[in-house]
């Protein structure tokens, strides 16, 4: 596992470096030679039209999709396949909310990866769970079944699970979708908290209006990387236009390809 070690090269510490990343579905590339570099304590919006490869990028970062070319390094170490340092939060509609678990049960799942299959829950595990629940302000709700939460609370419960896992990189698929304004503000505050703890947050996002208030960096994506950098520099009219008006390569003309999820 890519834990921090004292012998690290200081330039690569706390950095997520993606180089020349290409990911394909059925031999048709969905992401072409993506490269960027991010640091811990940043919150990054992943922007682009439908089919731009936002979910594909998130999934390839956690090893859900095989990569055709390129490398991903975190803390100066190659990331191959799954790692506890990364937490992937799926879109809310993909979750079975009737699952027999409470908020606390959900957060405890974050510890299982650290504990393995057998080891018992110890005091430190309970403490980590308590802390994660408190950080996401779910103390009054921790006994609730997960469907008895609002959308924003559900999102926070998943963030708490990732916190209990002690993940450093949070990959969120459309976290703000379907949230009303107060929940959005609340989630924004929670993401600030996480950023303050030195977490790297990468979230796919589609509402261009809210980008500058929610995030400090953007990755503009449309099959290939259009631009990447601080919101103030990169999130410009010209770049946005370029992102939403280039036709990405999706295989031979007239043969649309389908993604199987």
């Amino acid at each position: 596992m890519s834990r921090l070690t004292p012998t690290l090269d200081p330039t690569s510490a706390h950095r997520l470096v993606v180089r020349d990343l290409t990911v394909s579905y059925n031999r048709v590339p969905a992401l072409h030679h993506i490269a960027f570099e991010l640091g811990c304590g940043e919150s990054v919006a992943l922007l682009g039209p439908n089919g731009a490869g936002k979910s594909t990028l998130l999934k390839s970062l956690v090893g859900l999709l095989p990569r055709e070319t390129g490398s991903i390094t975190f803390h100066g170490r190659e990331v191959a396949g799954a790692t506890k340092d990364f937490a992937y939060l799926p879109q809310r509609e993909n979750i079975d909310w009737d699952f027999p678990t409470t908020v606390r049960g959900l957060v405890e799942m974050g510890r299982y990866l650290r504990l393995g299959w057998w080891r018992r829950f110890r005091e430190e595990d309970c403490l980590a769970v308590d802390e994660a629940i408190a950080a996401m302000r779910l103390e009054t709700l921790h006994r609730r079944q997960i469907s008895a939460l609002s959308g924003g609370q559900q999102q926070r419960a998943f963030l708490a699970r990732a916190l209990a896992q002690q993940a450093h990189v949070f990959l969120l698929d459309e976290p703000f979708t379907g949230l009303d304004k107060p929940s959005q503000d609340n989630l924004k505050e929670m993401l600030r908290t996480l950023r303050g703890q030195g977490k790297l947050i990468i979230a796919s996002h589609h509402d261009l209006q809210t980008v500058s208030e929610l995030f400090d960096r953007v990755i503009l994506l449309n099959g290939e990387l259009i631009a990447e950098g601080p919101v103030a520099e990169v999130f410009t009219e010209a770049n946005i236009h370029k992102t939403y008006h280039t036709a990405p390569f999706t295989g031979p003309a007239g043969r649309p390809h389908h993604h199987h999820h």
């Binding site: 090893g63 699952f99 027999p100 009054t140």
Partner: protein, 308 residues
């Protein structure tokens, strides 16, 4: 009170009680995974497809338990894998592929059994007969229960993560396909163990009714597993005694008892029962009054509820 202890005086009845309790527990425990993974249709198909395997084994090896065991195993694997192949190599979806395959397999089984020379009744395999449980049947039940339950207990954490969200589980390095395979394998083994006692048609009831009942009562994964096991065990014992006293078919009595418990939960569960659902919800006006400064001071949960 003689009538209560009377059944236990018989040697065969003690065997039946032990076998029934074990089967009830194992099926109820496994049932939680079947319910949460939405495998009920798959389980039903597999149980029906055991029949042609039994028929072929009877034709080739007679009543030898080893032959019956492997015949059933192979038949279930062929149907499960065949359905996958049909679904992937055509535009048909898996439910149709399974339905098509298992009804054909079942019919084949019915036809083949009519050619069997050994004197067996088709009804025996369709509806089971726990009162006719032999020593070797009981050994198979013990063996399979002692494989399946410890296996599922040992794997319960990765299984939990996989059942809850296979994508996230895979992203955490859990070998989701392997776990699914182990689950299917446990399912087939448990069915083979249950075959003698309740038959291929009502197997599914013993498997999913206990878990479905607990699912309507609680919000805890581990309660669902162990609770399913306990309800399955108690329901099986109650059903067996009923069938003894009233001279009813044993498999049907067990499933009926479990069915009564299930419907009780469906109607009367304090959290998820139908009656709870139909009861009018609190009028929103009451909540808004509670938040009004002149009313009672609003508590923290009140404002949390209004969030989404």
């Amino acid at each position: 009170m003689d009538w209560l202890t009377e059944p236990f005086h018989h040697e065969f009845m003690r065997r039946v009680v032990v076998g029934g309790a074990l089967l009830g527990f194992t099926n109820g425990f496994l049932g939680a995974f079947v319910v949460l993974r939405r495998l009920a249709l798959m389980a039903d198909s597999l149980s029906h497809s055991l029949l042609p395997g039994l028929a072929v084994a009877l034709l080739l090896f007679g009543l030898a338990p080893v032959g019956l065991f492997f015949g059933a195993l192979v038949a279930a694997l062929i149907v499960a894998m065949g359905a996958q192949i049909i679904a992937r190599s055509s535009r048909l979806k898996e439910d149709t592929a399974l339905g098509a395959l298992y009804t054909v397999a079942f019919s084949l089984g019915v036809v083949l059994i009519s050619f069997v020379k050994v004197r067996v009744s088709l009804l025996h395999y369709l509806f089971g007969n726990i009162l006719g449980l032999s020593d070797s049947d009981l050994w198979i039940i013990w063996g399979i229960s002692l494989i399946v339950v410890p296996l599922l207990v040992g794997l319960q954490r990765p299984l939990l993560l996989t059942l809850f969200d296979p994508t996230v589980a895979a992203s955490q390095g859990i070998r989701v396909n392997w776990l699914n395979f182990i689950l299917m394998f446990s399912l087939v083994l448990t069915m083979i163990a249950s075959l003698q006692a309740i038959g291929v048609i009502m197997l599914l009831g013993l498997l999913i009714l206990p878990a479905a009942t607990v699912y309507l009562l609680c919000d805890s994964y581990s309660t669902m597993l162990w609770g399913g096991g306990v309800i399955g065990m108690l329901g099986s014992l109650a059903g067996l005694l009923l069938s003894y006293w009233l001279n009813l078919p044993s498999g049907a009595s067990i499933v009926l008892v479990l069915g009564i418990v299930f419907f009780a939960a469906f109607f009367f569960s304090p959290r998820y029962g139908l009656i709870r659902r139909l009861r009018p919800a609190r009028h929103l006006h009451a909540e808004s009054l509670a938040r009004w400064p002149h009313g009672s001071p609003s508590e923290e949960t009140g404002s949390e509820k209004a969030e989404g």
